[in-house]
C-alpha cells in the first residue's frame, strides 16, 4: 500500500506507572519515566539520547516538569536538569531542541496532550513542522503522562 505521507516509523514505545498514592513515592524522583524511557531507548537502539535524538516533545504543563523530565529521560544526570537548560542544549538550534512546538505550557489540550506531543514528533521527522521545524530532524521523542504528579509516563520514539 502506498501512503500520501512519509511514514514515521515507531522505533520504541513504552510506558510505566508508579504508585497512585502520593505518599508512597518520591515526587522528585521520576522513576516511572526512567523505566519507560530506558525501555523505549533499548527498543530503538539508542545509547545516548541527548546525542542520538534530533527533537523531543515532553509534557510540561507546569514549569518544574521539563527540568525533572530531562533527568528522567536520561538527558541530564540526577540534579542536573537546570544545568542542561542553562547550557542551551535544549533550545532551538541546540544539541537536542525540546518542545519546539512550545510544549504544554503554551497549549494544553488536556486529554490528548500526550498524543499531540506524538503528532508534533511525527511532524518533525516528516519535515512538516513549518516554522518550528528542527532542520533535518530524523528521529524524535514524544512523552506523555497521566495520573497525579507524574504517576504514569509514556515514551515513544519515531523515525523517518
Amino acid at each position: 500500500m502506498r501512503f500520501r505521507q512519509k511514514p514515521a516509523w515507531i522505533r520504541g514505545a513504552a510506558y510505566c506507572s508508579d504508585s497512585y498514592t502520593l505518599g508512597y513515592r518520591d515526587l522528585a524522583d521520576p522513576r516511572a519515566l526512567r523505566a519507560a524511557a530506558q525501555k523505549a531507548y533499548r527498543m530503538a537502539g539508542i545509547a545516548n539520547p541527548l546525542k542520538e535524538l534530533d527533537a523531543a516533545e515532553v509534557y510540561d504543563a507546569y514549569s518544574y516538569m521539563e527540568l525533572m523530565w530531562y533527568e528522567g529521560l536520561g538527558l541530564a544526570a540526577e540534579g542536573k536538569g537546570a544545568e542542561l537548560l542553562r547550557s542551551g542544549a535544549t533550545e532551538t538550534g541546540g544539541e537536542l531542541p525540546v518542545n519546539p512546538s512550545g510544549g504544554t505550557l503554551s497549549a494544553h489540550p488536556v486529554l490528548v496532550a500526550g498524543l499531540v506531543r506524538l503528532i508534533e514528533a511525527v511532524l518533525q521527522v516528516r519535515g512538516d513542522a513549518g516554522r518550528r521545524q528542527v532542520p533535518g530532524a530524523k528521529r524524535a521523542l514524544a512523552h506523555g503522562i497521566n495520573g497525579p504528579c507524574g504517576q504514569c509516563h509514556a515514551v515513544m520514539i519515531v523515525e523517518a
Binding site: F3, R4, P7, W9, I10, P109, L111, L118, V122
Partner: protein, 60 residues
C-alpha cells in the same frame, strides 16, 4: 519490537475552549476524517480500530 509499525497520518479537531457546533461523537468523526485525509486513505482501508476513552467524561 516489530519494525513495520509506522504513523502514516494523524488528525486533530479544531481547538477551542468550547465547541457548541458538534456533539462528542461528531468531534471523533472530525478527527478521524482529518487523519484519513492526511494519510490519503478511506475508512474501508482500515482493518482495526483502537479507541482511548474516559467513561467518566463520556457518560457511557
Amino acid at each position: 519490537m516489530g519494525r513495520r509499525a509506522a504513523i502514516v497520518g494523524f488528525g486533530q479537531t479544531k481547538g477551542s475552549s468550547s465547541r457548541r457546533d458538534v456533539t462528542g461523537v461528531e468531534l471523533i468523526n472530525e478527527a478521524v476524517r482529518a487523519a484519513l485525509a492526511d494519510a490519503g486513505l478511506g475508512i474501508g482501508d482500515i482493518d482495526a480500530v483502537v479507541i482511548g476513552n474516559m467513561d467518566h467524561f463520556e457518560g457511557s
